[in-house]
Structure formats: C-alpha cells, structure tokens
Symmetry: C2
Subunit: 264 residues, 2 copies
C-alpha cells in the first residue's frame, strides 16, 4: 500500500478530475508519471476501462449459481459476468482465462483465506474498470471490490435464492463480519449444523456466490450509468494503522495490539 | 470445494495418468465430463498448460522487487514472471492484463486478507498450468500455489536481498505462520517497530514479494523439467473438516471449535 498514491487518489476526487480527458491532459503534462509507466508496460488488454454493457442482476446470479457446480465460487462470479460480456462485447473478455480461477475455491486452494466470491468480484471490477495507477477514471475498480467485501461482511447470506435450487430445503442465513472463507463458512456450519461436505453447505456456497454476483452487477450497472457512489467506509491503514479487517476482537479478544506509529 | 473432485485428483495421481495423452483418452471415453465442459466454455486462452520457458530465479526476484514500487505485491509477482514470458513466448502472456492486479495490495484493497504475493503466485501457477478441472496434466497449478502459501508461512521472510536495495539498513526477518497480509505484516511490524507507512516496511514488503517470486520460479522450472514434487502437506478439509489455515490456536486460543461432522 502506497500512502502517497492513496492521497493522490483523494486529490483527484476532490478536484473532480474524473474523466478520461482530464487523465490524458495530466499525463501529457507529466503529472501522471504512474499512468505513463502503466502505458509503457501495458499489453493490448491494459487499456481501461474495458467496454461494459449493463447486465441483468438476476440472470447473472442464476449463471453464477449454476457455474458454482462447475468451477466453484471465484471462477463462478467471474464467469457469470464475463460469459455474458463475451457475447455482448467480445474482446477482451474472450481472451480472459476464466476457468483458471478455479483455485480460488475454499479461500484459495482450501486454505480458508479470502472467500473466492469476494476475490472473483474484485477481479471482475478491477479488470473492467482498471487499476488506480492507470488514472483517475479507473479508481472505482478497487472501490467496487472493497464495497463487495464490506457488503459481504455485513449481509445475512445467502441473500439470493435461485429459481431452481438443487437443494430444496431451506438454507439458513448467517452474517460473517469478515470477507474470509473460513469465518464465513465456519459461522454458517456452526449455526446450521451441516458438515463441509454436505449438499446443504455446498448449495449455501453456490447461493452466496450468486448473491455476490447479483450485488456486483448492481454496482457495475450504476458505474456504467455514472450513478455509482462508493459505499464502503473501511480504510484500514488510516483507521487502525495496519492492513486489516474490522472485527479486531474476534481474533484478538480484548488484547488488540497497537501497531507502531509513524513517529518512531 | 468439491470433495469428489479432490478424490478424483487422487485417483489420477495414483493411477499415474499424468500426461495430456491420457487426459484426452479419458475425455473421449466420456469419463472426464468436467474437462469437456471446460473445453466447451473455454476462450482462446483456456487451453492448458500455457507455453513456459524456464526463467532465472534471481532475475525474476529483481524484477519483482522493482515492480513492487510500481504495482505492489500481487501484480509485481505476476509482472516479474509474465513480462519475461511476453518476450520469450509472446501470447497468451501479452493478452494478460497484469496491471489490473494492483488491487491485491495490502491483502486486497488494504483489507489484510491473503498476502498479495501469495495471490499473485497462485495466479501465475494456475494461469500457466491450468485448473484441475481441465484434466490431470493441470493438477500442479493449484498445487504449486498451495506450496507457495505453505513456504511463505514457514519461512523467515524476506529471504531475498536485492542487489541494490532502496533501503540500505538491515531488514529483519519474521515467520508469519500464515499466508495472510495482516498477520505477516503485523508480526514484522511488532518485531521491527516500524510503522506501516515507513520506508522500511515498504521495502520489507518489496523484498517479500521478490522472495516469493524467486521461490515460485524454482517450482515452475522444476515442473517444466518434470522434476517437480508437491511439497505442501496441508489438506484442510480432510485434516480439520473445514477450509482453514494451520495455526488454529493463534485466533481461537485453546477453544478450537469442532466443525459439524458429515454424519449429522
């Protein structure tokens, strides 16, 4: 994390310089050295934003739900959006290797870290809108990804019920207070009593994946309409002095360490 | 996580069916329905493995170290490998949007989840070798990614010292026992006393990124030489009944919950 860059982003937002035209003007003035670096390194898919056409959230959620049973959480979110854009737009979506992201399953190869659906949402928003180093018109890629993680943490999930669920019994909802697979799945397993390998747990994760895809497309559609507003408020480095989630006490208990300050 | 698939992977390994030829034979026999699905969905970059040429680990680490200061941990690992393969091989590396992965910084947009260098290593190994659903010749993509996470967790990092470090003072090493950014950075900050925004912390993360890239390329080169052997032993779902890391007590203390069993 580069604090200078985060300040730079704030500068752009405050100055209202949010159009591609302004970005080009700044680049030509030499102010946007990072943008110029990015352009110098960039391949043919590294021109942002990628073309985007608005998608139906419900259709996307249905695709994500069914794709879970083929490629699991992370790749299912990516597939639910990019498979539609492959048809509506074509490149660069046709050249994006969706299926390679199966490894996001189980919080990355089963290690329980970031929930794959959150990783997939971040990949989608950042591929379409671009990275913050590519200029001010690209800052909402990471922002929509952060919004996805905060929404996931605060929402009773799964929030989406598929039209034809593979498991017919009710799937209870839990709120994770965390974007991590281990915590999200663990809280659901504890409340529901179902094992990791049960059909119910698997359908729960497929429905969570669908829920994340639904929410993600709502944000992308708003961004396309220029009505998107950042919702997540969590800025860990400035809030608590270290990269972190918000639920400090859940792991640390009452003894939350104080990170070294910048005044050392 | 689909347990059936993990069993299937075990079957392939036990049967020694690790060549592309065998995969094709099984696909044509109808046994590999998942592979056929993957092929039906696949775009032009979804034929695995991607062509790979062996890279020099030290050169790769130097690239990763310097790229950290442009695109940060996750994208720097990807760039250190793919920028070389863009030159040596060309496509599909030229079409892969490296810079979009800046968002992996700070454990994904600053949330402290998976360390970006681990996410980047998983992306590299899975893009090159492919996902497990694409057939038995692709199973080592996720395996090398898991190896990267276990190595990262168990190694005193940073293990690589760049030739011309930007911070000249000694950077102490710490062992994270976790693939997560928050825990890795937090333990280093606690032992070193440096703040998150200090030049020393930033150079520490650049060196960790270089260390991960060095180790990753060693594994990829061995895979290319057909001498790669899986090293990580952590299979969370079968070991502890939930997607998880190994360091249970670090968050749970003595009260480690028992997940619901499959016998419910």
């Amino acid at each position: 994390m580069d604090e200078t860059l985060f300040s730079r982003r704030g500068f752009f937002r405050n100055a209202g310089l949010v159009t591609a035209t302004a970005g080009i003007a700044l680049a030509s003035s030499g102010m946007l050295n990072l943008t110029k670096d990015a352009e110098a390194k960039g391949g043919p898919t590294e021109k942002w934003p990628w073309p985007y056409e608005k998608l139906d959230p419900e259709n996307t959620a249905e695709l994500a739900y069914n794709e879970w049973y083929r490629v699991f959480c992370g790749a299912a979110v990516i597939s639910s959006v990019f498979s539609q854009l492959r048809e509506k737009v074509g490149e660069p979506y046709k050249s994006f290797p969706i299926d390679a992201y199966v490894f996001l399953e189980g919080g990355m190869a089963g290690w329980g870290t970031i929930c794959g659906s959150n990783a997939g949402a971040n990949i989608v928003s950042n591929m379409i809108i671009g990275p913050r180093i590519a200029g001010p018109e690209c800052e909402n890629g990471a922002q929509i990804g952060a919004d996805a993680m905060q929404w996931y943490s605060e929402t009773a999930l799964p929030s989406y019920t598929p039209k034809e669920p593979r498991v017919k019994s009710a799937i209870i909802q839990t709120t994770s207070n965390s974007p991590l697979c281990h915590i999200s799945v663990g809280k659901w397993m504890k409340k529901s009593g179902y094992a990791i390998s049960s059909p119910e747990r698997r359908d729960r994760c497929a429905r969570v994946t669908a829920s994340v895809a639904f929410h993600l497309v709502q944000d992308l559609n708003a961004w396309k309409d220029n009505t998107y507003k950042p919702k997540s408020t969590w800025k860990a480095v400035s809030n608590v002095g270290i990269t972190a989630q918000q639920n400090c006490t859940e792991c640390h208990g009452a003894n939350i360490p104080t990170p070294p300050s910048a005044k050392k």
